[in-house]
């Protein structure tokens, strides 16, 4: 593969590559020039977007709304706080809520993602949950991103316990015991790789 194809491939999944890999490819003059041209091409499309008078009216109202603006900010901060500090609990709560009133499809499939637990200190048990949903909860807890080698891996189903007090490495080790699967923690990202072709 030539270097420009590699650049395009890397741009498709930037998070799958380390900062060093990015610095290396972008230190190549041709690749950097190509990347810059792509950024400018994107700008050429962005600048074509028309802003009508109604949008400007709405934006001025948003700016000068006496109390709504403040409340929106507070609401946004509150939501942000929930997302950052309580994402795992929120996700568990939402999924538990869903399991109380399961959709028809879920009922027919006869599985629930979580077994309810009474205390946040107790391990969370994922029951026949997709790897995608498991890792979305776990990665948020440890403030990590997730990168799958391919989409098939997202659909792998697991029944596994997770103790949120334990370090991430402990959880990854337990998942890695499944044959053919390799989860690696690199630079705040969990990379999910298949050692061989796996079936969902």
């Amino acid at each position: 593969m030539n270097k420009t194809d590699l650049l395009f491939q890397m741009m498709e999944q930037p998070q799958a590559y380390t900062e060093q890999q990015w610095q290396e490819i972008l230190s190549d003059e041709e690749c950097r020039e190509l990347y810059t041209l792509m950024a400018k091409t994107q700008s050429a499309f962005d600048v074509q977007k028309e802003i009508d008078d109604e949008t400007i009216d709405d934006e001025w109202k948003r700016l000068t709304a006496p109390s709504g603006h403040k409340w929106l900010r507070i609401a946004a901060m509150f939501v942000g706080f929930l997302l950052v500090s309580g994402i795992a609990i929120a996700a568990i709560y939402m999924i538990q809520s869903r399991s109380v009133e399961p959709t028809r499809t879920e009922a027919e499939a006869n599985f629930s993602l979580f077994t309810p637990h009474s205390s946040p200190q107790e391990p969370v048990r994922f029951s026949n949950a997709s790897l995608d949903s498991v890792l979305s909860v776990v990665s948020h807890h440890y403030h990590h991103a997730v990168c799958f080698q391919n989409d098939t891996l997202r659909q792998l189903r697991f029944t596994i316990a997770w103790d949120s007090i334990q370090p991430l490495a402990t959880f990854l080790e337990s998942v890695n015991e499944f044959e053919g699967l390799q989860l690696v923690d690199t630079r705040d990202t969990i990379f999910v790789n298949a050692e061989k072709e796996v079936q969902p």
């Binding site: 420009t4 194809d5 395009f8 491939q9 890397m10 741009m11 498709e12 930037p14 998070q15 590559y17 900062e19 990015w22 610095q23 972008l26 950097r32 020039e33 190509l34 990347y35 810059t36 041209l37 792509m38 950024a39 400018k40 091409t41 994107q42 700008s43 050429a44 499309f45 962005d46 600048v47 074509q48 977007k49 802003i51 400007i56 934006e59 001025w60 948003r62 700016l63 000068t64």
Partner: protein, 163 residues
């Protein structure tokens, strides 16, 4: 005219230009609106007086600086994912050159040949499709999409040199 009325006049007068600059740097509608919003929110909360002849430059510089703060706050992977320019931290962008270059690129995109090159560019940059999605849509491999994209970018580069 009250101070708030003066600011409203400036807001309506310069909004489009400010938004466009933010959109060109951040490539995101909501973030661009927030940038313009924050510039004026700060003006409303402060006692800064803007003079008519320097207002445009002040507002655009404020937008640019806020965009740079956003860009600097992100990791390289996020910058690439959002297709941010990489040299902004050290390069001063002459306003007119940026505008001229964008115009030239728009013209160049319309001249791309064969049509599949233009299609790939439009699907990716205008419609936001990934290379894999474009490959699926066109019924070709991703490598072929890369080839068309590379060809298109070569044409755009040549067009910029000539223009």
């Amino acid at each position: 005219m009250t101070r708030k009325q003066k600011l409203e006049t400036l807001f309506r007068q310069h909004y489009r230009q400010m938004y466009r600059l933010a959109a060109m740097l951040l490539h995101d509608d909501a973030e661009s609106k927030d940038i313009v919003h924050d510039v004026f929110a700060q003006l409303l909360a402060s006692s800064t007086e803007l003079h008519e002849d320097t207002a445009a430059a002040f507002l655009l510089t404020s937008v640019r600086n806020r965009c740079l703060n956003v860009i600097r706050g992100r990791k390289i992977q996020e910058r690439v994912q959002r297709l941010y320019l990489l040299d902004l931290d050290t390069t001063i962008i002459p306003k007119d050159l940026f505008r001229e270059e964008t115009k030239a690129l728009t013209k160049g995109i319309n001249l791309l040949a064969p049509p599949v090159c233009r299609e790939v560019v439009e699907l990716h940059f205008r419609d936001g499709l990934t290379f894999r999605e474009i490959a699926l849509r066109l019924g070709v491999s991703e490598t072929t999409v890369y080839k068309h994209l590379r060809h298109a970018l070569q044409q755009l580069r040549e067009h910029l040199k000539k223009d």
